[in-house]
Symmetry: C2
Subunit: 292 residues, 2 copies
């Protein structure tokens, strides 16, 4: 069994980006600049955003954190979005989700300039991805594609099962893996809550991507020998033996599945770090596109 | 075996639309208006476009045919598109494909106002479809969804195989059938030219949608008893026994497959007429949306 080391791979990608940034600097070019917008920052979301800001610093990007109060109106937030759209210094930005309940999330995401939408969440970018046109790929599926590529895991003609049909992971993942691309050309089955014969399907899969958000959902009896496992989930599970009272669990029951898997991502240290690395890659792309 | 009669179902839909148009007229409202743009009309594409214009007349829509010469430049075509975008009398329009080779098809499709894109081909509309936001669904997949619904064919939890990953049929079909919707919630596998174990997969399917453009590709030995078959293909096959020297064949070998199928669409008279009916439905929607 080989661990698909997302942390190491993400660090390699960051090093590559840092070299590019250094070259841009040396040539007197403009440094990529990522902004992160957060409304009513609480502990968890602030941790996420800070890790993105820190990643920017590491590769030499400029970064801006726009930290807005929780009682902000939708109109005020849309004004802030408009400012980011117009700001020629900002190459790309992300809106940290979820937003407070009094704000229409979809309306806000629709207001993001697709050319600055480095999360790849805007319908125009999702459509371009679906139609195989150049665009920002959503960071988590993009990270998984990159991980498969760098570990040279064959996907063409392979039977891939994607578990979960979320808009930001399962759906785009199922689309990308079946397209004509590197780490593509797979025969993809998308399974979800309404699937009746899940185990029968996962037992035949060469590669399984689990993005359900349900701790240790996929167990050893559900997979065949030699399978490749990509675990997108990350959930806090109560664990009294730990000082902080919890441990982090993926969607995969690592102990039993790893015994049969040829390749498997750990949690943490698998898909998570790759997501941030691809966000940086999208920001670099946004910066380069602006120069054209 | 029950034939899924697309012609009859499409006629029912057209009757329903005609009644709506009559009501709009009686209330002094604006009649829906569809335009079709065709460049360098040849026999086949003119036949298609004319059938769309005729369908408009049948339901009481206004229609306009914009017939442009084959030596038109890309810039001139983009100007024509701009005129259609600005024309407040036109609710929706279609650009008949393929375009002449000196014109960048993607650039033209990108120029269509998404709010008038009743074919549902614009990236923004493809993205909205993928994200389950209200939009114009691409007419052929939409027609298949409608046909399944009207024949009350259960899709939830069923194993569906979509054969072919084209942008206008296979891909959107695979997305729609696995979404949370009526005629949705299926477990969908998208197979294509790189799939290695096709027959093994089709043999387990409850529903198969074939959109390959390869005459009589799916044969009786590839399906199980009681399967539902949707045949999107329509190809001219040489046939010396016919006066015109050819016959129309679907992607399904009808004779052998129909013996095992519970439901099957004929070719012609299956998916084809449904496509035109859904184009009219999208145009009606475009007209209603404009009134809002």
């Amino acid at each position: 069994m080989i661990l698909l080391d997302g942390k190491k791979t993400a660090n390699n990608i960051k090093d590559e980006i840092a070299i590019e940034v250094k070259k841009i600097k040396e040539n007197g070019g403009r440094i990529p600049h990522l902004a992160a917008l957060i409304v009513g920052a609480d502990g968890a979301s602030l941790t996420y955003v800070n890790s993105k800001v820190k990643a920017c610093q590491r590769v030499g990007f400029n970064s801006t954190l726009v930290d807005l109060p929780i009682d902000l109106t939708e109109e005020q937030l849309l004004n802030e979005i408009e400012l980011l759209n117009k700001d020629t210094e900002i190459d790309g930005y992300i809106v940290q989700l979820p937003l407070p309940k009094h704000i229409d999330e979809q309306k806000v995401l629709m207001a993001v300039d697709p050319l600055k939408d480095v999360d790849g969440f805007h319908p125009t970018n999702v459509g371009k991805m679906t139609l195989e046109l150049p665009t920002f790929l959503p960071a988590t599926p993009y990270g998984i594609i990159e991980l498969l590529e760098r570990y040279k895991i064959e996907t063409s003609g392979k039977s891939v099962v994607v578990v979960g049909r979320s808009h930001i992971v399962g759906r785009p993942m199922s689309i990308l893996l079946s397209q004509k691309r590197k780490a593509g050309n797979a025969t993809v089955t998308l399974v979800h809550s309404r699937t009746t014969n899940l185990k029968e399907i996962t037992l035949k899969a060469d590669i399984i991507v689990v993005a359900l958000g349900s701790a240790e959902f996929l167990t050893g009896d559900m997979v065949q020998e030699g399978v490749t496992i990509i675990d997108v989930g990350i959930t806090r599970v109560k664990d009294d033996s730990r000082k902080n009272g919890y441990r982090l669990a993926g969607d995969v029951h690592f102990e039993s599945v790893s015994k049969k898997a040829a390749y498997i991502t750990p949690v943490p240290g698998g898909v998570g770090p790759m997501t941030i690395a691809m966000l940086l890659k999208n920001t670099l792309l946004a910066c380069k596109m602006k120069g054209l």
